[in-house]
Amino acid sequence: MSEMVAIRLTVNGATVERDVQPRLNLVDFLRDELGLTATHWSCEHGACGACTVRVNGEIVRGCLIFAVQLDGATVETIEGLTDSGALAELQAAFHARNAVQCGFCTSAMLLTADALLRHDPDPSRETIRAALSANYCRCTGYHAIVDAVADAARERAKRP
């Protein structure tokens, strides 16, 4: 049982081929197989949000999807989205607002905030808080994070 399965997918623009055990989840695949360690894991049951990454353009919980399911898929992590500049306003605002304390939740916070701003470019503070309720920050830096997302929304509005 649990024989290896060959998968081929695109991660941050590069084609990746690996043989994986079916039980290997996406976040462990990214960290242990590909060395992409900016995506974190914690609760491993979908509550904390630390493992948030993009699959086929949409954010998902990396702990609740197996790598074996992703044959043919496109995966984007904080590393790739940083390089492309997709999160630049958010990252600058998190820096400026000191919305990072230990930094453990930050990668996932950025991806969740980005997904919100893609659907709702001008969110209220209440909407920002509702979206960020998907991600835990145990340093309790939520106020600064909400401030940073609101700032980033204003900066994004200036994009040509």
């Binding site: 954010i59 609740l64 399911q69 808080r129 998907a134």
Partner: protein
């Protein structure tokens, strides 16, 4: 923790799924969105020998308009359900409910049928399909059958689905009346302490007909028949009638008495909002 070892199959047709399910006996599980199954695997609450990934079975997905309403494939993602123009027009209760299901990163994977088959007592979609009087289409080794949503939910994580059957789709008659949807949770996205899904046909400032279904209070989505009828008299009469309909069960968040109180408060708020919209 990590999931225990399992074998993995990704069939492309419903027939192949049914064959694998029959061969697997009690040791096989269907993997749809995985947003309830994978946590259970990671917590080692389940150790199936085989996961049958149904995500490649295209006939299980999609939303279409039918003569009397809509048809929603079981594998349709909750996120897709939430932005569907057809759903918003024909069954707006579902559109109202989707933003309350967990979070975006979970709705992007989580499926409509998965939520129904899971039958969590605090889940939104089971209550919605009961309120909308949906027919649930089920495929199995003995062919297809339809079960009314009102008879599908049996208890906590318990449904009319047999081990060798697959939920295929829901046929939902076009919704009538104003949408009633509200829930209370400790934080946005958490499991509801109490929720209300339903509709009310309002005529000249009175409720002519209504269907009220509560979730998060009892062991399953409960149709509040007495309260629904009492709405024709008054909202307060309907709230009092909930004593007859509900058997609230305490959980970590709320006592039975608190859930009973919240159910009444939700009904009062939802009716006020529906009356205001209908006016």
């Amino acid at each position: 923790m990590k999931a225990p070892p399992f074998s993995y199959a990704r069939p492309r047709t419903l027939d192949a799924v049914l064959k694998l399910l029959a061969e697997g006996g009690g040791d096989a599980r269907l993997l749809a969105g995985g947003q309830s199954l994978v946590p259970a695997l990671n917590m080692r609450l389940l150790e199936p020998k085989l996961l049958i990934d149904i995500n490649g079975v295209s006939e299980l997905s999609g939303i279409s308009e039918s003569r009397n309403g809509i048809r929603i494939g079981a594998l349709t993602r909750q996120a897709v359900l939430g932005v569907s123009e057809i759903v918003a027009r024909r069954a707006p209760l579902l559109t109202a409910a989707v933003p309350f299901i967990a979070h975006e990163a979970i709705r992007s994977r989580g499926t409509f049928g998965g939520s129904l088959a899971q039958a969590d007592p605090a889940a939104e979609l089971p209550a919605c399909v009961v309120a909308l009087d949906a027919q649930l289409e089920i495929a199995g080794p003995r062919g297809r059958r339809c079960v009314p949503a009102r008879e599908f939910f049996k208890g906590v994580y318990e449904t009319a689905l047999a081990r060798d059957e697959v939920l295929v789709a829901a046929e939902i008659p076009a919704q009538r009346g104003e949408t009633l949807f509200l829930e209370l949770a400790r934080r946005h996205g958490d499991y509801a302490m109490a929720g209300l899904a339903g509709w009310a046909a309002v005529q000249q400032g009175r409720v002519a007909e209504a269907r009220l279904v509560f979730f998060g209070t009892d062991i399953r989505a409960i149709e509040a028949k007495t309260a629904s009828a009492a709405l024709a008299t008054s909202v307060e009469a309907a709230i009092a009638a909930l004593d007859h309909d509900l058997t609230p069960v305490a959980d970590l968040n709320a006592s039975a008495a608190m859930k009973r109180h919240l159910a009444g408060a939700l009904l009062r708020r939802a009716c006020a909002a529906a009356m205001a919209r209908a006016a």
